[in-house]
Amino acid sequence: MKEEKQLLAPGHRMCAGCGVALSARLCLEAAGEKTIVVVPTGCMEVTTSQYPETAWRVPFIHVAFENAAAAASGVDAALKMMGKREGVNIVAMGGDGGTFDIGLQALSGMFERGHRVTYVCNDNEAYMNTGIQRSSATPYAAWTTTSPPGKKSIGEFREKKPIGYIAAAHGIPYVATATIAYFADYQKKVKKALSADGPAFIHVLTPCPVGWRFPPDRTVEVSRLAVQTGVFPLWEVRDGDIENLRITVKPPERKPVEEYLAVQGRFSHLFKPEKQQDVIDRIQKMVDEKCERYGI
């Protein structure tokens, strides 16, 4: 058993049980040390690059919140002009806020221009760095501090933005979903993405014990449940050919979504003071419809 050098070194300040930290580690492990990392403002940035110490053992750059894809485009162009593009990976890692919301324009620009950058979105379904505010990745009925349930609210009342489809609609070579529990699937996808001749996008579900309100030892378990219940199917698509989307991990038998919801405090208002079966049923129906399309 060889001891591998961690490209994301210990001593970073991400929370205990952080899904994003695990995702970043797995991603870098797959990408290897010839990788330049571009990160927008967010949890990962503030916890890994606190001057004068850095957790990164690869070249790392952070510019601002909404422009990781644009900065990565510049890195790509510069490497090309320096004649150093071959053999070097460029990986941008943004959260859902920096990707689904404020960074979407820059992301779309990067895709459309065809920069050879693998963009990994570590999706923890809310603005965690600022303290659990709703993003367009926040799922239906979830509590956040800006989508609180109440007399007139079920929590977040919109469905999650289909970011993977939006990415695929650009016709880029490779788009996939992944999650940390299925690390082999995830790491294989990172390698495929990096070998693509153009932009690639991997949407990674990264549960957040703090924001989703579950004990930190269950991060991987919750991410696994998301797949097993069909809430977060794992798939890949080449060249925007969404008709031929391929499921990469098929749960042998789909578990009821209630199991996924029940372990997370952000859905606790669906269970107490009294159980809101209609809402749970509605979520189940949404998941069923999606999974039927995928044949899972």
Binding site: K34, T54, P59, M81, R113
Partner: protein, 394 residues
């Protein structure tokens, strides 16, 4: 060296091209659009070996420049007005990361109402962003200042980004003869870009754009301030060297017929030429009036300015911008520069030419008349006065 008839945008683009940027990221905006157009043409026809990134916004333009410059190449971008305002937060990032990016700016007003014409509100709004600012009086200066800006910005004692500005239309769209140095001459003056600290290289991994806590943040800002102060010296050196090589003289400020002047006008940008013409006329009429053109606004040349106005009785600062609720930005800086002088001139501020209102010789004459009246009265009754504006607000 060849003499060409170029509009201001072209002069800036040609100047940038001669500096051989490797990555250009730019987004079209009136009236600076011809700059990226011309540069993309240079790239397309092989005259310039660069990657031209057609970004989807000015925000991404400057972000891509940061990414590229931080990787290790010389970059360029150009914009105006709303485009510069959209870059605002990222300008601070570029300077904080000490990346010597050079940008051309066509000085244009800021909305609302939307207006595509000249004033300096856009760059004045970025005066605190840690970028050096060079204002061109004509197209020759636009070309020359871009070349010098790279030298200054990339100097190890400086390592700060710089913007070179040209006034909307009065320069951007005005054709006039410009001496274009040869590539060889520029290559001799500006060596290839060698990044000192900022390089993204897997062989030597570093972290750029780190998180600065209160224990460190202030030191970084202090070091930027120090770099700005050192830049003053470097600017003088580079200007001198440029003069030796190309025969055109630059100064952080340019005093014009200030000897024995009772009234000194302070101007920026393209209006300076009209001002000099009026000064000549008035001198002939016997009025003791001179002019100081401010070429470098950041770092602000307070020392030179103090010296240049030492014997004046009235200094009239002509601002083509307004910090609403107070005065013009140039005035605020000029008066602050003089505040500790035992004997200082009376200071008056005149706001002109916002949103492309023409700055005419009669406007200068009016300002001079008012300044002499201040001199006679020995006091400034109205420190900030607007010229050629109707009192009636629609």
């Amino acid at each position: 060296m060849a003499k060409m008839i170029l509009e201001g945008n072209q002069a800036l683009a040609v100047g940038a091209k001669l500096c051989r940027p490797k990555v250009i990221a730019s987004y079209p905006i009136t009236p600076s659009t011809h700059i990226p157009e011309m540069l993309s043409e240079f790239v397309a026809n092989g005259e310039l070996d660069a990657d031209f990134i057609n970004v989807e916004s000015e925000h991404s333009a400057i972000s891509a420049c940061i990414g590229a410059q931080a990787t290790g190449v010389r970059t360029f971008t150009a914009t105006a007005s709303q485009g510069l305002a959209l870059m605002h937060e990222i300008l601070y990032v570029a300077s904080g990361m000490r990346l010597p990016i050079v940008m051309g700016v066509a000085n244009r007003s800021l909305s609302a109402p939307i207006n595509i014409w000249c004033d300096h509100s856009d760059t004045m709004a970025e005066r605190d962003s840690g970028w050096m600012q060079f204002y061109s009086e004509n197209n020759q200066e636009a070309l020359d200042l871009v070349i010098q800006a790279y030298r200054i910005a990339e100097d190890e004692r400086v390592l700060l980004p710089a913007m070179v500005t040209i006034d909307a239309y009065t320069l951007t769209h005005t054709f006039e003869p410009v001496d274009v140095p040869s590539q060889k001459e520029v290559d001799e003056f500006l060596p290839p870009y060698k990044p000192v600290y900022a390089i993204l290289d897997p062989e030597r991994p570093i972290t750029q754009g780190s998180f600065g806590t209160p224990e460190y943040f202030m030191e970084f800002k202090y070091s930027q301030q120090k770099a700005m102060e050192r830049a003053k010296e470097v600017i003088d050196e580079v200007f001198r060297e440029f003069e030796e090589k190309f025969g055109r003289k630059y100064g952080k400020i340019e005093p014009y017929r200030t000897e024995g002047a009772d009234v000194i006008l302070v101007t920026l940008g393209s209006m300076s030429g009209t001002g000099k013409e009026v000064v000549d006329q008035l001198r002939e009429e016997g009025a003791k009036v001179g002019l100081i053109k401010v070429t470098v606004f950041r770092p602000f040349p307070a020392e030179e300015l103090r010296e240049a106005v030492r014997r004046a009785k009235v200094v009239a600062v002509i601002d083509r911008d307004i910090s609403l609720g107070f005065s013009g930005a140039v005035f605020a800086n000029v008066s602050a520069s003089l505040i500790n002088e035992e004997k200082r001139p009376l200071l008056a501020n005149f706001i002109v030419g916002l949103g492309g209102r023409d700055v005419r010789p009669e406007d200068f004459r009016e300002i001079v008349d008012k300044s002499f009246r201040i001199l006679e009265a020995g006091r400034v009754e109205k420190p900030v006065e607007w010229i050629n504006v109707s009192g009636e607000v629609p």
